[in-house]
């Protein structure tokens, strides 16, 4: 038995996983129109390669990866591109994004596939395949997989099948039905990373999945370990699962790879296998459709399927008042049901007042500390609440607000029913806005100082030139009066003086007149900002990975 580690806090909400695992996975029928958002990965958008009217084949690349963290995008089925335009996408605030609208022709004609033999393909080629197959983390973060598959000095590869959020069962069903794919993909990733150990972590409330994965693992590679981890939300959070399996705590601002660990979702591992061994890009995924519906189950859904058409398959009950995308702990209520399913969509929950009662009024915080008991980041949520409420943003940062993964455990246990996570989100966005303003102000100040320094230098140059000219004239006059024999020496003196002045000026220019410290610091600050932004992206990615 592998020694497991605990993590502080966590909660045990009703899992509600049985509802959607009774029926086998079904294939959702193709809708009349698919809306495929261009940007489905963390990072940059790929470049669109098709235009309205173009015919497309199933699996055909419709957008190519660009510089930066972007991956390719493919047509989920064969048909025609009807438009490339902005449409509402799945986002808590109802943002719009550029989408390719594809009308399926129903023929499901595949593009020509190019399977690879993983054993005989170079790591660079494999990574390129992951990128060109459009692979992103399918646990919710949608971070480009080719980047994570390029880590060096990785000791332990972890495949995350914990799926700790209530209601969601798509990973569970995937493990039950496609264990071979997951194990195959996991082994490919292990070889790619040169990892020594390969662990698959699954919460122990999924015995069927554990059994299926163990069977698949034993057939493929006895060295592969399927580990049942205690069921406790958020055990499926990347940092929590790494802690449970290895004992390592990845601090905020660090990546698991810094500690020799890399973590992929089971869905991603299966997609890796399909992309390499069968040459199939990521064009569909399992989505759990559950909650207040007559027929909860998991569907194999084409990317781009409108959520409302998907929901209709499960026959929602009459008292359904809203739909959640993701789980009830970290998901969000969809402001618009016409939005499409994307690569990161794992679950749609029909919510009713009975299943998800409206919150009771907030009472004052009585500092009972239940939130601190539940916080897996080991923060002091009640203090953060107090500081966020009083706009004391400095204190928020001092108490490590940004270490908060927004898992919602604090708000779940709060007897005063305070919507704590909302306060943290608010404080975080306030701090980010403030830092952006500060950065802009810094830039403006720097530009102004630079101009002042340049003007000053120009003035000095002018004065020096004038002085040199005056000296030259004076010397000429002196030469004329002093006679011929002293002339060469004095001329060489003059030349020397001029050369020296020029050299001094050159020196001055290599160490510019403006405040060099400011200059250097800004460069550093800029680097810091870039790093901080990357870190933030990674942190939100980690937080979102909780499925």
């Amino acid at each position: 038995m592998r020694r497991l580690f605990g993590f502080w806090g966590g909660i045990k909400p009703d899992s509600h996983k049985n509802e959607s695992t009774r029926l086998p996975v079904a294939k959702a029928p193709l809708p009349s129109l698919l809306t495929v958002p261009l940007r489905q990965n963390a990072g940059a958008s790929p470049r669109i390669m098709v235009k309205a009217g173009d015919p497309v084949l199933k699996g055909q690349m419709i957008a190519a990866p660009e510089d930066g963290l972007s991956v390719a995008l493919h047509a989920p089925t064969s048909g025609h591109v009807r438009a490339i335009e902005a449409r509402a996408i799945a986002h808590p605030s109802g943002l719009a994004g550029i989408c390719a609208i594809i009308e399926p022709d129903g023929a499901e004609r595949w593009v020509e596939l190019e399977p690879l033999d993983a054993a005989r393909t170079s790591p660079e080629q494999l990574r390129r395949r992951l990128r060109e197959a459009g692979l992103v983390g399918m646990g919710g973060a949608a971070f480009p997989s080719y980047v994570k598959a390029g880590g060096t000095a990785i000791d332990t590869l972890i495949i995350n099948g914990a799926e700790c959020e209530p209601w969601i069962t798509c990973d569970d069903m995937l493990m039950r039905t496609r264990g071979e794919d997951i194990v195959g993909g996991a082994i490919m990733l292990r070889e790619l990373l040169g990892a020594r150990k390969l662990l698959i972590g699954i919460e122990d409330n999924k015995p069927e999945a554990i059994a299926a994965m163990r069977a698949a693992a034993t057939r493929a590679d006895p060295g592969l370990e399927v580990v049942a981890v205690p069921t406790r939300y958020p055990a499926g959070g990347e940092k929590q699962l790494i802690r449970v399996l290895t004992g390592l705590e990845i601090p905020y601002g660090k990546l698991p790879s810094h500690f020799g660990v890399q973590c992929f979702n089971v869905g991603t591992a299966a997609a890796v296998h399909r992309a390499v061994s069968r040459g199939k890009p990521l064009i569909s995924r399992l989505v759990t459709l559950t909650g207040n519906v007559a027929e909860p189950r998991n569907y194999e859904v084409a990317i781009g399927m409108p959520v409302n058409e998907l929901i209709a398959l499960a026959h929602p009950q009459a008292d359904t008042d809203r739909y959640l995308m993701g789980g009830p702990m970290m998901g969000f209520a969809l402001p618009d049901l016409a939005v499409p399913v994307v690569k990161a969509t794992n679950c749609i929950i029909a919510a009713s007042p009975t299943l998800f009662p409206a919150p009771t009024p907030e009472m004052p915080c009585i500092r009972c500390g239940a939130c601190a008991q539940a916080c897996p980041a080991e923060l002091a949520p009640y203090e953060l609440y107090w500081f966020a409420r009083s706009q004391n943003l400095g204190k928020c940062q001092e108490y490590h607000l940004f270490d908060c993964i927004e898992c919602g455990c604090c708000a779940f246990v709060c007897p005063s029913r305070i919507r704590l996570v909302d306060y943290y989100r608010y404080a975080k966005s306030s701090i980010r806005a403030r830092e952006k303003d500060k950065l802009a102000a810094d830039h403006a100040r720097e530009r102004y100082e630079f101009r002042l320094a340049r003007e000053e230098r120009e003035k000095q140059d002018k004065a020096a030139k004038l002085a040199a000219k005056a000296a030259e004239t004076k010397a000429k006059l002196a030469r004329a009066s002093a006679g011929d024999e002293s002339a060469p020496a004095s001329e060489s003196d003059d030349k020397k003086a001029l050369i020296e002045a020029a050299m001094a000026k050159a020196r001055e220019q290599t160490t510019p007149a403006l405040n060099t410290d400011v200059h250097r610091m800004t460069a550093e600050q800029q680097a810091q900002v870039t790093v901080a932004e990357a870190r933030h992206a990674a942190a939100t990615a980690t937080a979102a990975k909780d499925t």
């Binding site: 004992g247 969000f332 209520a333 998800f356 009472m363 004052p364 923060l379 002091a380 919602g408 909302d422």
Partner: protein, 343 residues
């Protein structure tokens, strides 16, 4: 649009408060058994006053009455006041005490969750300073004549000689301090009807009642085990240490733990979340501090018990304690990588 999480645990402030009230019942039962039903009158008086005062102040502050009256926090304060005041004190004493607690100590500081001091302890301290004599007249154990207690509480003419007695703590200290008697702890405890088997007569059973209720609260997850443990351990250790040095002049741990408000303090007063420390280490320091100060006041001070003053003194220290005892957050602990791997 509402944000996540969309589910919450079925817990509420009022559930917490009513569990605390329920946990006081065993102690109250023992109280009634040994000291008569007068305490029930006091509890009723305190409860009515507390709810009325709470409602009046909430109305003045423009807060929703129903929501806040139901939270039960005023009742907890009221019951604690009734249990720490003498059960034969005149009715206006407890009414005044409750008004001080609810109006001054709680609402003038901002109401539920905002008070830096434990309201019940503020009431006790104000009243013992203002009315030291009335606050020191306790019923004798075994005196359970309800009619007499009723007269003592509501009668204008209070004939208390027959029923009044000093608390065991007071009695012990008074005798020990008489220079001519050369009394020893053992002698005093053995000779006086005030004292029982391990603590005060009758009081030791009340203390056991509080202990039982307190253990239940821990089992229910309402209070942390750390606070009562730190409190009782500290009080036991300091009294034990001094008893070892000079057993004739210092009472031992069992006496200290089972007399006066030790058990009530450990499980119901030091555990008040609002006015207490919140961090794990902070809670231990806070509770140990109260216990230490309690022992000092009991042994060298002039008051019948030291819990109330000790609590207020430690309440003052809470912001400092909390600030200095924040735990390291996830991933920021040093030396926590089992393989010795560093980033």
């Amino acid at each position: 649009m509402l944000n996540s999480p969309y589910i919450t645990k079925p817990a509420s402030v009022s559930a917490v408060m009513f569990k605390v009230l329920a946990a006081l019942l065993p102690g109250i039962a023992a109280y009634v058994w040994f000291f008569g039903a007068g305490i029930l009158l006091q509890i009723a008086l305190a409860s009515i006053t507390a709810l009325a005062a709470e409602a009046a102040v909430l109305a003045m502050r423009g807060k929703p009455l129903g929501l806040f009256l139901k939270d039960g926090s005023a009742l907890v304060t009221a019951w604690l006041i009734a249990l720490t005041f003498p059960s034969i004190a005149p009715w206006w004493l407890i009414v005044l005490g409750v008004l001080v607690a609810i109006v001054v100590a709680k609402h003038l500081y901002g109401g539920l969750g905002q008070n830096p001091f434990n309201p019940a302890m503020v009431a006790f301290c104000v009243m013992i300073v203002a009315y030291p004599q009335l606050m020191s007249q306790w019923p004798a154990a075994g005196f359970t004549d309800f009619a007499a207690e009723f007269r003592a509480i509501f009668g204008a003419d209070r004939h208390l000689d027959a029923i009044v007695m000093a608390t065991p703590l007071d009695a012990l200290r008074t005798v020990l301090r008489l220079p001519e008697t050369r009394a020893t702890v053992e002698g005093v405890l053995g000779s006086n009807a005030t004292f029982g088997n391990i603590g005060g007569r009758g009081w030791e059973w009340v203390a056991l009642g509080y202990l039982a209720g307190g253990l239940w609260l821990i089992q229910q997850g309402v209070i942390s085990w750390r606070v009562p443990t730190a409190f009782l351990a500290t009080l036991g250790l300091i009294s034990g240490a001094f008893a070892l040095v000079d057993a004739t002049q210092y009472a031992g741990p069992t006496f200290h733990l089972f007399t006066g408000g030790a058990m009530l303090g450990a499980f119901f007063i030091a555990t008040d979340p609002v006015s207490g420390a919140t961090t794990v280490r902070g809670q231990i320091i806070f509770a140990a501090g109260i216990a230490l100060l309690t022992w000092i006041i009991r042994t060298f001070g002039a008051y019948p018990d030291g819990i109330a003053f000790a609590t207020l003194l430690m309440n003052i220290c809470v912001p400092l304690i909390d600030m200095r005892t924040q735990r390291p957050v996830f991933g920021r602990k040093t030396g926590k990588t089992p393989d010795g791997r560093q980033p």
